[in-house]
Point group: none
Chain length 254, copies 2
């Protein structure tokens, strides 16, 4: 289950932090590290600080941008300061771990994103996240080192995972295992969501409804909060296509 | 309460670890650091790695040995590997935090001891401890950095402390609760929602997208689950109106 969870570091500046993060992950049984547009390379310093976790550094996936690192993920969580405008989507590490495990356990790909050392994640990056993870630190001094934050989240993931293992150990009779008939919903990937959002924006710009930057962030927030399911996305996409078709059929007359 | 809890580092070799441990403590609201017979001094390296937590390094108490550092404590907890002979006294971080808080809350002095970077605490030191704290790490790679271990334990202490605060808040008289300045979002009435749903259905029937009974229940479920806010409803309503307007303008040609 932990194998379906990736840690994504965005534009990391210090390679030592990559190494320390890798070590932190491995101590808790995580191994999938993604480096989105890193500002440093996973160099000797990274390997040195990874201690026995060189494998995690060496197997890290480098991507050109954040979108590539999360494209196939259906649950995306981004770390952030406790910002007022994110209020409804904020979760703390323990809840984050439970949520990540629940989805990873269903076979979904889950990404937990950590931002730049100094400025964290940008607003447009936070908009790609279903949840915003905030560590309940000392309000007078909340400056956790990047790798320390990775350590805390990895720890909570491991604790949540150990708990699921314990529950499995309690074991239900074999006859009780099987299709409950209650299939969990499917969720779209980050890439599919991005496609939907850009399609929506394009369509409503052409209709003249979207004229400034205010609308899309609100729609993103709404659909992230709702955690759009695949069949719902299909409907919204179908509605969009219906509007488009109508427009094209009437293009010459408008 | 956190003020009654001290972190004791025994014979630390790398001053950077002292600085990182200080930073880790401060992010979680702990401030009392004891250095028992350190093998290095809290030097510039320590101050540099403490980032904004220089005060914790500077106020650290240096003692000649472990006994002096814990002399006035009535609860002493030592970190250790998961040793079989300690079995009966082993606790994990969460339980450790709860126990530490319970005692600290009663005014007792509590010490949590972290051993040497390579070899941890000696057997005779472990014998001075009521509990032996073990972090449930990956058995294939359990090598947590010293400051990372301090971070995890400090985090659990803070979580436990926050919980006691919440419980206290629950018994606060109503008169003590004031305006938080945090405006809750506005929500539409059931009637407004109904209006939106029927408007949506009408519009997309006319466009030919809705042809049976399947779509609307799914959209209702989605927006109910999201708990649509008033400003979001206004946007969705605006999008619908934009489509309608376009249709009316092109009516004669379709």
């Amino acid at each position: 289950m932990l194998n379906n969870i990736r840690i994504v570091l965005v534009e990391t500046t210090h390679s030592g932090n990559i190494g320390s993060a890798a070590r932190a992950m491995k101590t808790m049984g995580l191994s999938r590290l993604y480096l989105a547009a890193p500002k440093c390379s996973p160099d000797q310093q990274a390997l040195a600080l990874s201690a026995g976790a060189e494998d995690v550094v060496k197997n890290a996936r480098l991507t050109e941008n954040l979108d590539q690192a999360i494209a196939d993920c259906s649950l995306v969580i981004g770390t952030s300061a406790r910002l007022r405008h994110l209020q409804n989507s904020l979760i703390e590490p323990r809840q984050c771990a439970a949520e990540a495990l629940r989805h990873a356990g269903g076979g979904e790909e889950v990404a937990i994103i950590f931002g730049r050392e100094r400025i964290g994640l940008l607003n447009e990056e936070l908009m790609k996240c279903r949840y915003h993870l905030t560590i309940p630190a000392n309000p007078d001094y909340s400056s956790l080192n990047l790798a320390m934050a990775v350590q805390l989240i990895s720890y909570e993931l491991r604790m949540a995972w150990l708990q699921t293992q314990q529950e499995q150990d309690k074991v239900m009779p074999v006859s009780a295992i099987g299709d409950t008939g209650n299939k969990p919903p499917l969720y779209p990937t980050a890439q599919q969501l991005e496609h939907f959002f850009s399609h929506t924006e394009q369509c409503y710009r052409q209709l003249g409804f979207i004229q400034n930057q205010g609308v899309m962030p609100k729609l993103r927030r709404l659909y992230q909060r709702a955690r759009l399911e695949t069949n719902e996305l299909n409907i919204l996409q179908g509605m969009l296509t219906a509007v488009e078709k109508y427009r094209i059929a009437n293009k010459d007359n408008s």
